[in-house]
Amino acid sequence: MLELWYRLVDFALPFEWAHYAFMKNALLAVLLSAPLFGLVGTVVVTNRMAFFSDVLGHSALTGIAAGLWLGTGDPLVGMIAFMIVLSVLITLFKTATRASYDTVLGVFFGAVTAAGIVLLSRGGGFAKFTPYLIGDILAVEPSRLYTLAALSSAAALYWFCLANKLVLISVSPVLAFSRRVPALWVQLSFGVLLAVVVGFSVRLVGILMINSLLILPAAAARNLARNVREFTTWSVAISLVCGVAGLLASYYWGAAAGATIVLFAACFYGVSAVYAWVEQRGGRR
């Protein structure tokens, strides 16, 4: 399968950068993960979960420590398991208490980030974990690409099946309840999906950047869209364009890919915000 992709790139993209196997892998990783970020990001943005997904991203450090402690061979397994548990805990906590959600998230954010730093820096070995902070999409292992493809398909299927319920819950959870939508289960399931997506992508784009990749394309799309279909379409498209452009720019600049992609997405957001502003002024006249 991968062999086919390499040949396709050699045939269709006769550029210098495309000669390298690591760039071919990275390009495929971007093409598979960008739509995933774009799609999941729309739900994160409409449900005001930006801080929630940031907590998940920052919990990666504790997740790695948990993985090392449990002795799961692949650090990814321990990390994703930890994020799933965290995501379920936060969602349940939110429904069970009347405390300010924002503050609760702030507490979780502090706790998981600090725990991760303490556990991993014990004995002065933190330096070997710094790649997790900024990520390295160029180092993606070919075997991970298959998992990424499966994950993206699963997320698309999830969105397809639950789009109506997710939209209704974002509008009003009580209204959703009156329509017999099991809001808590839907929220829990999305939390788990988000945990898997974030956990899997942290190694590629970095703890510091993962949240921006989820939020920015959807935030830009929101300025352009008039309905849910346009919203998801724009978000996926912006995410893809920024992903590819950012990867290539990072190659020529010799910079980290994740952050370069985020910069492109930020530019897109700026343009879309100006568009929305002009549109709004036009509408008022």
């Binding site: 969105w159 109506n164 939209v167 209704l168 509008v171 009580v174 329509r179 309905n227 849910v228 346009e230």
Partner: protein, 254 residues
Amino acid sequence: MTEACGHCCARIENLGVRLGGAQVLEGVRLHLNCRELLAVIGPNGAGKTTLMRALLGEVPYTGTLQFKIGGEMRSRPRMGYVPQTLNLETDSPISVLDMMVSATSRRSLWLGVSRKTRKTLEEGLAAVSAAHLLKKKIGSLSGGELQRVLLAMAMIPRPDVLLLDEPVSGVDVNGLSLFYSIVSRLKTENDISIIMATHDLAGIAPYADRMILLNRTIVAEGTPREVLSDRKLLETFGPSLWNVSKWETGCTHA
């Protein structure tokens, strides 16, 4: 008060709700007749919204709830619900069509809307004078427009009981009379029973068949005229009564 309850549609006995350690409602006894608009009034924090949520089954309650629909006893009838507010930002990219499809159709939004669903939704909107709003973003609607859209949505499919939770907060005076007349017409045309929680004491009076004054439990009950002239009304609301009723209808300059 209906004692025999021969044509009674909902019978609520000794309803109590505890939330976060506080008794929000207790000993609520309420009979709702068929084709009746029951207005629930009471000060802020009296438990109006909690009553709605208990009727929906969204919060745990004690006591009994029984419904008789078309001669049959049921524990859970088909409820239409219009919430007080939505969880919305004004730039939310969700159109009226999106929201209505998400609530009324099983087919994924992503596939677009079938012709049949679209027709149902258009007819529903037309019945509340909102046909022109189908493609607008919900964040851009005025308070009155949004409430009419939510009302249309609650009517698909036709419910046995319609619950309206302070639907007129943030609606201007013209919007108010339009909303009440639409609700009144839906009640007669569709043979449904309606419970409406409201702050607009004076506005709802001509449209309500019965009224209850709620303050943790039922304080007064009867026709709107009886309840509004009850001495307990002033005791419950206090001197702010005049302000509440005027302010909520939008007549701040009166």
